[in-house]
Amino acid sequence: MRKLLFESLFRQPFTEQAPSQNDAAVAELATAVGRAARRQLGRSLSIREVDAGSCNGCELEIHALNNAYYDVERFGIRFVASPRHADVLMVTGPVTKNMRDALERTFLAMPNPKWVVAVGDCARDGGCFAESYAVVGGVSQVVPVDLHIPGCPPPPTAILQGLLSLLDRAANNAATP
């Protein structure tokens, strides 16, 4: 273990932050998220994730946000275990009828102010599962959605970009009383 830790001390970090051409998007996010989140929420944004019936593809990409390349925690964005600690409810999947109640209750358990981010194509309108007897439809059928991030599943950078636009909007709304 010592060797691995030692190597990590001297190796370049994996985290993509340098404003090189390709990674401009991530770098831009880093500064913008920082500014907007700080204005509205201090230094942190806490997200509670709920899978309302997804295929688990979106979960994989949301997980990836935590790896060393994307490292969302450096922006003050972190995933929390309880809805009581959350500012943002991140919902994936078409909402199944069997999950409708649990999703609603999770939303109600969150303190205000709160935002809902729907992730993935199914979360918009049920996607390819829309006409099923077991599916309610998109997330907005059950809880009010502030932002939708499309993709099947959206790659981690797209999810980060989505969170940024939400923060900007929240900040603008706060600025105009």
Partner: protein, 503 residues
């Protein structure tokens, strides 16, 4: 003792079913098969319904023969298999929920997928409108002094799929775990009915996101078996390439995540980087990080270019260089070993009775791997080993996955070196009459089974059985006598699919 072949001779063989035989049998043959399953002579591969028929896929472990037997049940009842052979229990409960066919003698008649929220009962059989009125679910009792219950889910603490776990504990020790699943039931088999191949393969690829390649692969193979299509060589190899990349990404991610559940974050951080490397290489080669919607009936819709092959080779070199140090770290960290060794032991008898697939079976002495046992192309011509251990604990499951990472690295290299030239697909065509096919493909988690009947270019019925069906119940068994705090560790070492199971 009759073999599986003898059994199939007793029934009426269905024409146009490939590659394994399907026969209509009477109730006595059905019950005989159930008793052979119960005595461990055969393995249950799947059990599914139609509005007035039940089907059971069986494998003779000794000879790897496979057959499907079907029983007509015009009066909506059939002799229970689960009564003799517990792995069929949940499948029979699900058949009742979806089709209204009842298994006579089934010891557990509680609904399984139906949480009474659909506004309809028996959605795929004779539908009855119903008021949605979720009633409390009667959990099985556990009795004794000082027992307490812990209810977890369906919304869990992490970024995970939904399901409910009801623990009964004595102090810290788990006395009984009971799962309640079905929360992510999307009615995929209902959506399949009437879908054309193009839509159906998309749905198949969305049964379980982490196995999107395996499902599209199994679905396509089943459709090709039904239509007697021959897939061009290049596509056969590209499919295996996709499947191995998926296996590699999932194993790397999960090895780290298991260690993370033992609070060893360093492994997790490093493994996540390797997983991300695989996904980026997949994106460079196939234009999608999870390689979704690339395998279709007839072949693949996207060829790999020189840049893509190069990206994969760079990734292989990188993982070959960095993974051994992580394996050594896992092996030499006493505090981590203390958590994983002897934790969550799955006994080989149980793994074999449930025909547990994937690393769960192979860590408990069941050597089945569809790539080897069924030897579907191109695996019949590739060199690889199937690692098997007998300990059955969390540690053994980690080691099987470590070894499978090494095998997948080698397989990917072999495939890239031998990738034949030529077309990547053939037209699926159109057949007017009913044709049926079945396929089994080894996903990272175990064998994915798809059975379907096509008529006039559309799906008449399609059943997809995730390996998790036979793995979830075993998790209930292995957690017994472990401490509650080790549940996440055991659970992650199984990593069953909720969505694949709930369908």
């Amino acid at each position: 003792m009759p073999s599986l072949i003898d059994l199939t001779l007793e029934g009426r063989k269905i024409q146009q079913h490939g590659p394994w035989p399907r026969v209509m049998v009477d109730a006595s043959v059905w019950e005989f098969a159930a008793s052979e399953l119960a005595h461990g002579r055969w393995s249950l591969l799947g059990l599914w319904g139609e509005p007035s028929t039940v089907h059971m896929a069986i494998m003779d472990g000794a000879t790897a023969e496979i057959a499907i037997i079907s029983l007509d049940c015009p009066d909506k009842a059939y002799p229970s298999v689960g009564m003799h052979h517990p792995p069929a229990l949940r499948l029979e409960r699900a058949i009742n929920d979806l089709f209204g066919l009842s298994a006579e003698g089934l010891p557990d008649t509680r609904p399984w997928l139906d949480h009474n929220c659909w506004s309809v009962r028996f959605p795929l059989g004779d539908r009855i409108n119903a008021l949605s009125d979720p009633a409390p679910y009667p959990f099985l009792p556990a009795q004794g002094d000082g027992l307490h219950q812990i209810a977890v889910g369906p919304v869990h603490a992490g970024i995970i799929e939904p399901g409910h776990f009801r623990f009964t504990a004595s102090g810290e020790t788990v006395v009984r775990l009971e799962q309640r699943l079905g929360y992510t039931h999307k009615g995929i088999e209902g959506l399949m009915i009437g879908a054309n191949l193009e839509r159906a393969v998309k749905l198949a690829g969305r049964v379980s996101g982490d196995s999107t390649v395996a499902y599209a692969y199994a679905f396509s193979k089943a459709a090709e078996a039904a239509l007697e299509l021959v897939v061009p060589d290049r596509a056969v190899f590209l499919r295996a390439l996709l499947a191995e990349l998926e296996r590699l990404a999932n194993h790397l991610g999960d090895i780290g995540a298991i260690c993370n559940d033992a609070s060893f974050a360093l492994m997790h951080a490093h493994c996540s980087v390797l997983r991300e490397n695989v996904l980026r290489a997949a994106n460079a080669a196939f234009g999608h990080r999870l390689m979704r919607d690339i395998i279709v009936p007839g072949g693949v819709i996207r060829d790999i270019g020189d840049d893509g092959a190069k990206a994969i080779r760079v990734m292989l070199d990188n993982i070959r260089r960095r993974f051994p140090a992580l394996v050594e770290l896992y092996d030499n960290t006493a505090s981590l070993q203390d958590r994983t060794v002897d934790t969550g032991v799955l006994k080989p008898e149980l793994a074999s009775r449930y025909a547990a697939g994937g690393y769960i079976g192979r860590a408990s002495g069941r050597p089945f791997d569809a790539r080897r046992t069924l030897a579907y192309p191109p695996y019949d011509t590739l060199r690889f080993e199937v690692p098997v251990l007998n300990e059955g604990d969390v540690n053994a499951r980690v080691w099987i996955r470590v070894r499978e990472v090494e095998q997948s690295l080698s397989l990917i290299e072999q495939i890239l070196n031998r990738l034949p030239a030529g077309p990547t697909g053939t037209h699926a065509g159109h057949r007017r009459e009913a044709r049926e096919g079945m396929a089994m493909v080894e996903g990272f988690r175990g064998d994915v089974l798809v059975w379907l009947r096509l008529r006039d270019g559309r799906i008449e019925r399609c059943h997809m059985r995730d390996p998790s069906w036979f793995q979830w119940p075993l998790l209930e068994a292995v957690i017994e006598n472990n401490i509650v705090a080790d549940f996440p560790l055991c659970n992650k070492s199984f990593n069953c699919s909720y969505s694949g199971h709930d369908l």
